[in-house]
Symmetry: C2
Subunit: 226 residues, 2 copies
Amino acid sequence: MNPSQPKKKTAASSPIAAGLDGERLSLGVAARLSRYLQVLTQAKKMDKEKISSSELARFTHVNPTQIRRDLSGFGKFGKRGVGYNVDFLIDQIRAILHTAAKYNIALFGAGHLGKAIAGSEVFADHGFEIKAVFDNDAKKVGTKAGNVVVQPAEELRKTVIDEDIVVGVIAVPAANAQAVADELVGAGVTIIFNYTDRLLDVPQEVTVHTSSPAVDLLYALYFYLA
Amino acid sequence: MNPSQPKKKTAASSPIAAGLDGERLSLGVAARLSRYLQVLTQAKKMDKEKISSSELARFTHVNPTQIRRDLSGFGKFGKRGVGYNVDFLIDQIRAILHTAAKYNIALFGAGHLGKAIAGSEVFADHGFEIKAVFDNDAKKVGTKAGNVVVQPAEELRKTVIDEDIVVGVIAVPAANAQAVADELVGAGVTIIFNYTDRLLDVPQEVTVHTSSPAVDLLYALYFYLA
DNA sequence: TAGATTGTTAATCGATTAACAATC
DNA sequence: TAGATTGTTAATCGATTAACAATC
């Protein structure tokens, strides 16, 4: 999906190599592993100890053979006749994706959306911690969003450095999105998660990911209606 | 990404056929077309009249050659040396995706997230209209979310029929997600958009799409950190 | 015209899956 | 043991991209 990113060179021929040396995963594999991880995280919450490739397939919409193939490229994680141990597989996938570590987030915008994000566990479950919330509205400064107190925008630059923030989340009205993106970039953030549908102009070294629920829905609908 | 869906049979050999007869698009093409549409919609808002494949590539992270290839399978939509007309291309892609029509949504949950969704234009821009909002909390019933008045859950079944609702959006706490899904399914909704990370058990004929911002972020981060 | 950008080809590369042996 | 499910192969299929002619 993102051909501007480098690809690994030796491919299907030696998939194990991707796990051992630092070779990049293909985009498809990385995307699928992320989805497996999400389902496994939920399965763990439901106190499931083991899971089979066909159960995983049911929730990820990925073919069970491909799931086994994706996983077996990195090691023999399952038990024949039994399935995969949930905890163990979570650890393995986290290691493969290098996301066993913690990453710190700054959230910009303390309106309905910002508060919904700050109060949810979607990010926390995957090793992201919302360290700070900002808003330009003086009335919102000092109120609580999730577990943190909303700060004024002026604090952004200092907080990014002090708290080792790597990701900035934009949860403001679309009209303000570009201005906030500029502030985040100015403060040194290099990964932006954009919850508005506004196209953002940023320097080349900054990665923007835009959330597109309506696009996702369109895509789902296509297969429903066809 | 979803091998349980049928695929079209004759593929790259006669791409034009996919536009003319009712043949299914491949999943990759449908996903990419949806993203082009999103960027085009935003470009239109910014009063852009034409756009080149390389500009489209910049915002979608899809290779410009592939964009031209995807589009040329359905017709000659561009002008050499000039680019694509934004309005015209939007119409064409909508026609290809069969999403020129309007679809009605019922939103369940009028908390921060529900209000954020109801008040935003992300769905409206793509032909979705939020016809009704529901909540189990009696205190929220009667208040406004976006442009609609919050109804009690008891009204769900009747509203789904009366308003021709095809999509149900779940924006309640994760703990209540399964119960709401059951209610939506009972009311006849066959497409569910799940904003919680809870795995939902639904009948086979119901399509569930789960929003996973943290997974998206993990995926983006992988390429940043690698 | 000169420059730009599309449309298209041809070759490669990676993803997908059915099938089944291995083994828990 | 019998049943279940993984790990792996081999074949196919579709996606990707460089390159360039066509043409606005």
